[in-house]
């Protein structure tokens, strides 16, 4: 098959993987460079492809499942290594994001992935970023080898419960996913340990992430976020990615093709994820008694609405950990406020310059004792913070 067609097939087949980070490479330098943005608004940082889409598995939610009628293609490891280097030297990409369908067996697939990575690092001396997928069920030795060549490694959880895996991905088990995740957590920890001791890197992956599909199975946001929290804690993951399910199959167990992908839900999960990782929130604070996040409210706004007794906060006195809980006020703004108020008391006029989304934040703040918001009922405040379809049902823009 011609190279161009192959690249189109295997690029398209990999595009549902949400991760695009090219964060901390072990080689240092400017991180997180985006080389382009596709018309769907996503950053192109890595050459994200499958080594092959000839899958022996038949996961109902997957475009490349064995029973699916898609054109199949496969890169030879040497061919893909050469393409990656050519793109990198032209400054099209930061590096490679390599995944694969399960060809033959998990081990056979993993071997081809490892071969590609070894060619890149050892033959081409490729200095770019590599994110490698580990195939669930692959041998720990191969998993470790992949981690030796890659900057980031990940195993996709895919579905947020064993029950759903059994139903939709019968050849994958939670155990097959979690075992390599455990191996990778060890490798990542060993690497961090030796870097801390200042040894020149016995090169090893610096971080691990995972991805799961939202909306293909019935799990609630609470289940998903509880899983997320456990993954961060137990496996030291850097990121969990969420991918709104795009209808691809006709399985009776899946949402039909007329159901649009749950992009709003995905967006809220990402917001909640940041609040869990960086803002000191716990799952229980975000989902409350209901099991779902509110699609029409930023999860932080919802938390604040349910805890009006903790507000308003005084801009000149509140702790940073309290400030970041104010809707419309993030980590950067909180830092700026703390820095600026060391110099002098802040006045209300100073606030817009510090980058607050004052439209939302003012309802939760006082400045020198003066309340900045309007006197509103809880319902009135909720309307101010509302972030969903408007009355005529037109969808407000999700992204500013």
């Amino acid at each position: 098959m011609e190279g161009e067609r192959k690249l189109a097939i295997l690029g398209e087949a990999a595009r549902h993987d949400a991760s695009c980070a090219s964060g901390s490479s072990r080689r240092g330098g400017l991180g997180g460079i985006c080389h382009s943005w596709t018309p769907d608004g996503r950053c192109v940082s890595l050459l994200k492809v499958l080594l092959s889409n000839r899958c022996v598995y038949d996961c109902a939610y997957c475009l490349n499942r064995a029973s699916s009628d898609v054109e199949r293609a496969e890169f030879a490891p040497a061919e893909l290594a050469k393409l990656t280097v050519a793109f990198y030297r032209r400054n099209y990409i930061e590096g490679l994001f390599l995944s694969s369908a399960v060809v033959g067996s998990p081990d056979a697939t993993m071997e081809r992935i490892v071969t590609t990575l070894r060619l890149l690092r050892q033959v081409h001396r490729f200095p770019g970023y590599i994110h490698a997928k580990v195939i669930p069920g692959a041998d720990p030795t191969l998993t470790r080898q992949a981690a030796r060549y890659a900057d980031r490694v990940s195993v996709n959880i895919e579905l947020p419960s064993s029950e759903s895996l059994r139903r939709l991905a019968p050849q994958k088990t939670a155990q097959a996913v979690l075992a390599p995740m455990g191996t990778l957590a060890e490798v990542v920890a060993e690497g961090a340990e030796s870097r801390k001791k200042g040894r020149s890197a016995p090169a090893a992956a610096v971080s691990q992430s995972t991805q799961l599909i939202v909306g293909a199975s019935p799990e609630t946001d609470r289940t998903i976020l509880t899983l997320t929290e456990a993954l961060y804690r137990r496996y030291g993951l850097s990121r969990v990615y969420y991918s709104a399910y795009m209808p691809v199959g006709s399985s009776p167990d899946l949402p039909g093709p007329d159901r649009p992908p749950p992009l709003r839900r995905e967006h809220r999960l990402y917001q909640a994820d940041w609040l869990l990782r960086l803002y000191g929130f716990a799952v229980d604070e975000l989902v409350g008694d209901e099991a779902q996040l509110d699609e029409n409210l930023d999860p932080k706004a919802r938390w604040a609405l349910n805890h009006l007794e903790r507000f308003p906060l005084e801009v000149n006195g509140a702790e940073p950990s309290e400030l970041v809980r104010v809707p419309g006020l993030g980590l950067t703004t909180a830092r700026r406020i703390v820095e600026a108020r060391r110099l002098r008391r802040l006045e209300a006029e100073d606030l817009p310059r510090l980058g607050l989304a004052l439209k939302r934040a003012r309802h939760f703040l006082t400045c020198n004792g003066r309340f900045l918001g309007e006197r509103l009922t809880a319902e009135g405040l909720r309307q101010r913070l509302f972030d969903g379809p408007d009355i005529e049902g037109r969808q407000l823009r999700l992204f500013p």
Binding site: I9, G11, G29, S36, D40, G41, V44, S45, N91, E339
Partner: protein, 246 residues
């Protein structure tokens, strides 16, 4: 009011700032600023520039100098930079926290704009291979070539590269991990790649576009149109999606 005109180099600017801070009521002029009735040229003296930098670092830290430099790349006026320096010597280490102060905020804003553009360009440059030389044209808003040149030189230390700022007709020549800036006129015709990789990149770019998530506003906010001309991927994506639709 008198004016001090420098030669457009960063050292020259530093000497002019030093002089202006000594004499108080003096404007600092770049080569392209309109003439003043009373003005004189400042002699560029590397030693003086270094001493001034050292004093500024001692007073307000290296970050202040970095911001001064970045803001100058973004075209900050000499007067703004001189007000910023005056503020720096008064406030010392507290300078960076003084978000409420006008000059400080403006310099921060310009410094940030330059560094944002340099970061963008680090991603948007596209090199075409011509024999042993890799060539990338660009037309940045600001004079960020020194930052971008440094990035490229370090990223690709084993090749000879030219980053060409067509708008300013200057180029960074990168080799062995270092770069030098030279004047360089626009090429008379487009520089084409020796190999077929640009076409493969276009193919890939179209294949990964997810039509179900089309959001061009977001695309343009992250990658403003003015950068598109030199991108080989033709970011419109268009309706010619090589794979089957989603």
């Amino acid at each position: 009011m008198t004016g001090l005109r420098h030669d457009g180099t960063f050292d020259g600017l530093l000497c002019a700032l030093d002089e202006a801070l000594l004499s108080g009521l003096t404007r600092v002029l770049a080569p392209e600023d309109p003439p003043l009735f009373l003005e004189e040229a400042v002699r560029t003296d590397g030693g003086r520039a270094r001493r001034f930098t050292a004093r500024l670092v001692a007073a307000s830290g290296t970050e202040a100098v970095r911001r001064l430099w970045l803001a100058s790349l973004a075209g900050a006026s000499g007067d703004l930079l001189s007000a910023y320096c005056r503020r720096a010597f008064v406030l010392g280490r507290a300078l960076a926290d003084d978000h409420g102060q006008d000059e400080v905020r403006q310099v921060h804003r310009l410094a940030r704009a330059a560094s944002v553009e340099a970061h963008r360009l680090a991603g948007f440059l596209r090199f075409a291979r011509r024999g042993e030389v890799w060539y990338a044209p660009c037309e940045p808003d600001f004079a960020v070539l020194p930052i971008v040149g440094n990035h490229i030189a370090r990223r690709f230390p084993d090749s000879n590269r030219i980053v060409h700022d067509l708008r300013r007709e200057r180029a960074a020549l990168c080799r062995d991990g270092r770069f030098t800036l030279i004047p360089l006129a626009r090429p008379t015709s487009a520089v084409e790649d020796d190999e077929a990789f640009p076409r493969l990149w276009r193919t890939y770019f179209r294949a990964v576009t997810n039509e179900a998530r089309r959001n061009e506003v977001l695309q343009r906010s992250r990658m403003p149109r003015r950068y598109w001309e030199h991108l080989v991927e033709e970011p419109e994506g268009g309706d010619d999606v090589s794979g089957k639709g989603c």
